[in-house]
Amino acid sequence: MTLRFGPVSFAIVFCCVYALAFFTNLPLFLYYPLHGDFTWGPQLLKGAGPGMAWYGLMADAGIAALVLAFIVPDRLLDRIFRNYFWLFPCGAMLVCVYMLRQFLLQG
């Protein structure tokens, strides 16, 4: 059995996991740029300055997508979602806008 990378699976899983991790506030880690510290998960480290979740969200989505891109057959997803791949990035982007609404409404 040979492993084949599935770009369709990768994109779909990446979008879904990214949106889900952002929605549930579950980055793999937080980065604190003030002193260059890292912590696992979403727990804030006191006295370390502002934490950044984006790298952790990218890691969540990237790892999950990479693993599932070799497991979930592309043919299956292609057959189901052909012509509708755009739903996944659009959905993920809408989730991001929803999650950031407090910034947009305060301005």
Binding site: F5, P7, V8, F10, A11, F14, C15, Y18, F22, Y31, P33, L34, G49, P50, M52, W54, Y55, L57, M58, A61, G62, A65, A69, R82, N83, Y84, F85, W86, P89, C90, A92, M93, C96, V97, L100, R101, Q102, F103, L104, Q106, G107
Partner: protein, 153 residues
């Protein structure tokens, strides 16, 4: 150093913007008969040739953004919060999240531009390329606006 990286980030952004816009416009405006005008020449290119450039520039752009992002978080976002510029912060956060989602789309984008999928995945190719172009334009404009409000220098 951060200023140099920010300028490089802007230059790569301009290149990416040019490549994906050229590809998108030529993809939407397919004409059999061409007059030789600037518009026809601009849109008369083979959009296939931009794929590798777009993927390479996009990856380079996101990596550069990831390197300078901590400087933004400390030197730009905190003063923005003190100035109550929350809408601008939100716009920038959207740019970062959209750029991340765009990274996840790159393998699909590359795959969709294989010549053998031209007919079977025509709509997906069109829409995924449009979404990537939207992300690039959004990132460029918001980055530009925020840099005008407060650059990293």
């Amino acid at each position: 150093m951060i200023t140099a990286l920010l300028i490089l980030h802007a230059l790569v952004g301009v290149s990416l913007l040019g490549a994906i816009t050229h590809q998108l416009v030529s993809m939407y405006r397919r004409r059999a008969v061409r007059s030789g005008s600037f518009i026809d020449r601009y849109t008369g290119v083979n959009p296939q040739v931009f794929v590798v450039a777009v993927v390479s520039l996009y990856v380079a752009q996101v990596l550069l953004g990831a390197v300078i992002y901590p400087a933004y978080r400390l030197n730009v976002r905190i003063p923005f919060e003190e100035m109550f510029l929350f809408r601008e912060i939100g716009m920038f956060e959207m740019k970062e999240h959209f750029a991340g989602i765009g990274m996840g789309l790159l393998p699909l984008y590359f795959w969709l531009w294989r010549p053998q999928l031209a007919e079977s995945h025509r709509r997906d190719r069109l829409v995924i390329t449009s979404i990537l172009a939207f992300i690039v334009w959004w990132g460029f404009l918001i980055g530009h606006i925020l840099n005008n409000i407060r650059g990293l220098g």
